[in-house]
């Protein structure tokens, strides 16, 4: 019995020993864990003290979060008489939340996917097989754009499929689910081609891409509204909406009817005899407002990337992508602003005005035109070269008959420095600052680099590159007592409810010539239309004044021409100035190029335009007899530019 107890005692002792050892180990484990906890405490301390500021900043940066954007409506572009050239319409994109649909379907007893697909196909005419494939490919997508730009009615009718009302009048979801509609604005151009180069177009990705859409993009865009959600002092998530500001409307100086009349005539002319470019600018000399700006070829603003209006299908098929891109850029180029060219004889009023102002010539001074003039060993012919020259003519006759030697004589009398200064003063060689993108400054000689032969050819508008706005602005200043107004095409900017935000009043930039000079030139220009080379422009009952131009284009041996007419009505108190250019008219190669086409076009335009403008018929004169009128003949210009 004693042995048994002893054994029991020993066993118990051993057990106690083991327990004691275990207790010790537990203590060791506790110490290790405590040390690790302390280490982690130190780590937290480190984060708070070393990175605290940085992380606090990050939290603040994240604190405001923008949830929803309320799209701003892009402003309209209107003509001065209120015709809308461009506007935005609210439409809807159909978005399917595929991931949600599939997970909803899994939880529901109904066949949601199938019903939704059926509804989508029926409502929007989608191909079922295609749609199923699309959904299969984008199973995790939460944003699958199915249909673009549907109208509000279509959206409402689809929404009606998505919910019904039960007997108690509560709205209940149907089996068509997880489709939502994304608001979007679509830009529309109700007048398609009208003033396409001026208005320009807009794309979702790049905003305004051309013309006024680009130039006034900031005004047109507006400010999107935002739904902020942030945490307020009371620690609730607060949603605040920043109101959306719709874009401003841009009111142009363009008159819808003038623009329309001009474009119709341009198209009518080009259908008969297509030209490379035909461009017309009409301007109010008293304000510098552009009343119309049109060019050909043109494009449909609603479909600006469509070349089919200009090229045939075979031509398009033969073009590479690069060719197409270049063709598009060429098409989109606004000839009136972005192209520079040699103006030809329409530049002559500038030369005469300069000479008169400088006093190197006075009214009635004569010069003997022998048909050609030799300057620095270059023989420069007159238009009347084949007729043996104009003979002794006055300053007025020089303009009427478009005499080159007289102009050369004036330029030489002025001297290169003075002549170059006048050219610069009339605004050539620098940007006019018209509010359209992509204006070119043209190419002129500076006072230092101009040689005598340069002055001689410049005097009748060759070897000098100008853009149409420069030319018509200079012309307007000459006929408007020397007042050079800032040319501009936007009259005012209104907010979406029609209040004027900003208006662009006429800005008198400078005085280019004296009142007397202006008066003389108005008289000469009237005579040019009544009795000179521009007889064909004359409109019965109106005192039309102006000057023709036939310029030989560079690469003289190709013998290509740019014919033009610049003029104004009424002759003594101009209300409108018009500048018409036909670049490479049909069949003007060789010596046949004449200003006949452009004179006829100008006449046609003015005949329709003047009654509309309400200009008084100030001439009681009978019809101008244009049967024996002589067109300005083309003249070969020597290539003097190689120095």
């Amino acid at each position: 019995m004693a042995d048994y107890e002893k054994i029991k005692e020993r066993k118990l002792k051993k057990k106690r020993m083991l327990l004691k050892k275990t207790g010790k180990k537990i203590q060791v484990m506790l110490v290790i864990v405590a040390l690790l906890l302390a280490g982690l405490g130190g780590r937290i301390f480190y984060i708070v003290y070393n990175r605290g500021d940085e992380y606090t900043q990050s939290v603040l940066n994240e604190q405001t979060q923008t949830n929803d954007t309320v799209l701003a409506k892009r402003g309209q572009i209107k003509t001065s008489d209120g015709t809308i050239l461009a506007y935005s319409e609210k439409m809807y994109n159909v978005i399917l939340d595929v991931a949600q649909l599939l997970s909803d379907d899994e939880e529901s007893e109904d066949n949601l996917t199938d019903d939704t697909i059926t509804a989508l196909c029926n409502s929007f005419g989608l191909d079922r097989a295609e749609l199923v494939a699309k959904i299969y490919d984008n199973q995790t997508s939460r944003y699958l754009k199915l249909v673009k730009e549907i109208s509000e009615e279509d959206m409402e009718s689809f929404k009606a499929l998505m919910s019904t009302t039960d007997s108690k009048g509560n709205k209940v979801d149907t089996t068509v689910v997880d489709v939502w509609f994304e608001e979007t604005y679509v830009r529309k151009y109700p007048n398609n081609n009208l003033a396409a180069d001026v208005v320009g177009f807009y794309s979702q990705n790049n905003g305004g891409e051309l013309g006024l859409e680009l130039q006034y993009n900031d005004y047109l865009t507006g400010v999107n509204g935002l739904s902020y959600s942030y945490v307020n002092d009371g620690l609730e998530i607060t949603n605040t909406t920043k109101e959306v500001t719709d874009g401003y409307n841009v009111v142009t100086t363009i008159d819808y009817n003038i623009q329309k009349i001009i474009e119709d005539h341009i198209i009518a002319y080009n259908q008969e005899s297509p030209s490379k470019n035909t461009a017309v600018v009409a301007m109010d000399p008293d304000t510098g407002e552009i009343l119309a700006m049109a060019s050909y070829p043109t494009f449909d603003l609603n479909n600006p990337r469509d070349l089919s209006g200009v090229y045939t299908e075979e031509e398009l098929a033969a073009m590479s992508d690069e060719d197409k891109t270049n063709a598009l850029y060429e098409l989109w180029t606004n000839f009136c602003v972005s192209e520079s060219y040699e103006p030809g004889s329409v530049f002559k009023p500038v030369t005469e005005a300069s000479a008169l102002d400088e006093g190197v010539v006075k009214d009635g001074d004569t010069y003997n035109c022998t048909g050609a003039e030799v300057v620095s060993n270059w023989t420069i012919k007159c238009h009347a070269y084949s007729l043996g020259g104009h003979g002794v003519i006055t300053l007025e006759q020089a303009l009427m008959e478009s005499c080159n030697p007289y102009m050369i004589n004036l330029a030489i009398k002025l001297g290169t420095t003075k002549f170059a200064q006048y050219v610069t003063m009339f605004g050539f060689g620098s940007l006019t600052g018209i509010d359209l993108p992509g204006e070119t400054s043209g190419i002129t000689y500076s006072a230092d680099s101009m040689t005598v032969i340069d002055a001689a050819t410049n005097s009748f508008g060759q070897n000098i590159n100008v853009n149409m706005i420069q030319m018509i602005s200079a012309y307007c200043s000459i006929i408007n007592d020397g007042n050079y107004y800032q040319p501009h095409i936007v009259k005012q900017i209104e907010d979406s409810s029609g209040n004027i935000v900003k208006s662009f009043d006429p800005v008198l930039v400078k005085q280019t010539c004296t009142v007397d000079t202006s008066k003389l030139l108005r008289q000469y220009l009237l005579a040019t239309v009544e009795e000179g080379t521009a007889k064909k422009v004359a409109v019965t009952g109106y005192s039309v004044a102006g000057k023709t131009g036939t310029a030989q284009k560079v690469n003289r041996d190709e013998r290509k021409w740019l014919i033009s007419f610049i003029g104004h009505v009424p002759a003594d108190d101009p209300e409108i100035a018009i500048y018409v250019i036909i670049d490479e008219p049909d069949g003007t190669t060789g010596s046949s190029g004449s200003s006949a086409d452009v004179l006829q076009l100008s006449h046609d335009i003015l005949e329709d335009l003047l009654p509309y403008l309400g200009i008084y018929e100030d001439l009681t004169a009978t019809d101008v007899d244009t049967s024996n009128s002589e067109d300005e003949l083309t003249v070969d210009v020597p290539d003097t530019s190689q120095n």
């Binding site: 327990l19 275990t22 207790g23 537990i26 864990v33 708070v48 606090t56 990050s58 998530i237």
Partner: protein, 427 residues
């Protein structure tokens, strides 16, 4: 007295009347009586030892207090970090409160009514362990619910729970039973290796491969490691194992670093996101970086209870990332308080374990200790970006019904052990 005498008399009368009294039958009867008495006594003892105490039920009040504090902090923080969601009060907080109350009741039952020796009964312990492994296997059946790419939940009749938590109980019970029955054989290290293999590696591997749950596998392996460490009489093999693991990790780490520097295609975004959380702020390290934002922006005393901003950005901030919200709202001060509370809790559990009446009790407490300690350490190390991201909840504080219930049951066992500590005077 009267009746006794009469009965005695009648008995004698009967005996004398019927037959001769044999000595053997008297002995047999006496033995039977004795057995009956002992049986009655044994039953009484084994059902509830402490009932025999005249002083009543003993409870470790400091342990109880600190645990209640932690649960309280947990409820407040779960409410705070879920307050931005729509069903904060009725969904998240309500279920957590129900589980806490139910869990506390269950804990008291475990602590008072049962005896912890039931758990270490050979059949019960093995049964629990095998049952928990079967639950893990159930994840393979349609009962397993896939959530965020990992199958961790079992849904039975609208009630869902995580088998992982049962495995933790299973290995605590199984190891406590096994080790105490092994007794002195624990001094052989190969026995320890077998134990870790059977009760650590096997369930960890099952969890990793079946439910793609690396974090729980790590916790389970760690628990097996710690429990055997406590039971093994020496230190050397553990120091060697620890040194080996440290060496392996540092070699692997330097290899990864050099691979990254060389620009070799090291593709483990988990590691990269750990090293440079800023670079992966929108993807892999979104949680980590926002947790760091929360810790860093809390400052010394925090933004105030309920004023966290980061919780708006953290989906389910009341789960693994809840400690960062504590840091943000209560600051460094609050975070250290919580750490100290865990420290005190663990100290009290260790105290119970050290003073447990026998090996089983000590090992059960050590198991609970290792469970809580590992989860706290791993969770806080993860949220402070000290180790790569792995999802482990913070005991008592993170939301999670099953986890809280199991923890409270484990605490019930600890209280049960503590109530059976012999007074030092009795020793």
């Amino acid at each position: 007295m009267e009746t006794n005498q009469r009965r005695q008399r009648s008995t004698i009368k009967q005996n004398t009347q019927n037959k001769k009294i044999s000595k053997r039958s008297v002995n047999r009867r006496a033995k039977k009586n004795k057995n009956n008495y002992m049986k009655a006594h044994r039953k009484k003892f084994s059902f509830r030892k402490s009932l025999s105490r005249s002083t009543g039920f003993y409870l470790d009040y400091s342990l109880m207090l600190i645990m209640i504090i932690l649960i309280g902090i947990g409820l407040v923080m779960v409410y705070s970090s879920s307050s931005t969601t729509t069903d904060s009060l009725k969904g998240v907080l309500k279920s957590q409160v129900i589980f806490a109350v139910f869990g506390l009741l269950m804990m008291m039952i475990v602590a008072r009514v049962l005896d912890y020796h039931i758990l270490t009964n050979k059949y019960v312990a093995r049964g629990l362990y095998i049952f928990s492994l079967i639950l893990v296997l159930l994840l393979l059946t349609p009962l397993g619910k896939n959530y965020n790419g990992a199958t961790r939940w079992i849904v039975i009749g609208g009630f869902n729970f995580m088998p992982v938590e049962f495995v933790k109980v299973g290995i605590i019970a199984a190891l406590a039973c096994r080790i105490s029955s092994l007794g002195e054989k624990m001094k052989y290290f190969r026995v320890v290796v077998w134990l870790i293999a059977w009760y650590g590696v096997v369930p960890a591997a099952m969890l990793y491969f079946i439910s793609n749950n690396l974090s729980s596998a790590i916790i389970i392996l760690g628990m097996a490691f710690l429990i055997t460490f406590v039971a093994y009489p020496g230190y050397k093999p553990y120091i060697a194992m620890f040194a080996g693991a440290t060496a392996f990790i540092s070699v692997a780490f330097s290899a990864i670093l050099s691979a990254i520097q060389k620009g070799d295609g090291f593709r483990s975004t988990r590691i990269l996101a750990w090293l440079h959380p800023e670079d992966y702020a929108d993807g892999e390290a979104y949680q980590t970086i926002h947790g760091l934002y929360a810790i860093g922006s809390g400052g010394l005393f925090g933004k105030g209870l309920g004023k966290s901003v980061v919780k708006l950005k953290l989906p389910e901030a009341y789960n693994d990332m809840i400690f960062t919200i504590i840091c943000e709202e209560l600051g460094l001060f609050g975070a250290l308080c919580v750490l100290i509370a865990f420290g005190v809790l663990l100290w009290r559990i260790a105290h119970v374990a050290r003073n447990a009446p026998d090996m089983q009790g000590a090992l059960l407490c050590a198991g609970v200790f290792s469970h809580i300690a590992l989860q706290v350490l791993v969770n806080i190390a993860v949220v402070t970006d000290t180790i790569p991201n792995t999802g482990v909840t913070l005991p008592f504080i993170s939301k999670g019904g099953t986890a809280l219930l199991i923890l409270l049951l484990e605490m019930g066992v600890v209280f049960n052990v503590s109530s059976q500590i012999k007074d030092e005077l009795n020793e």
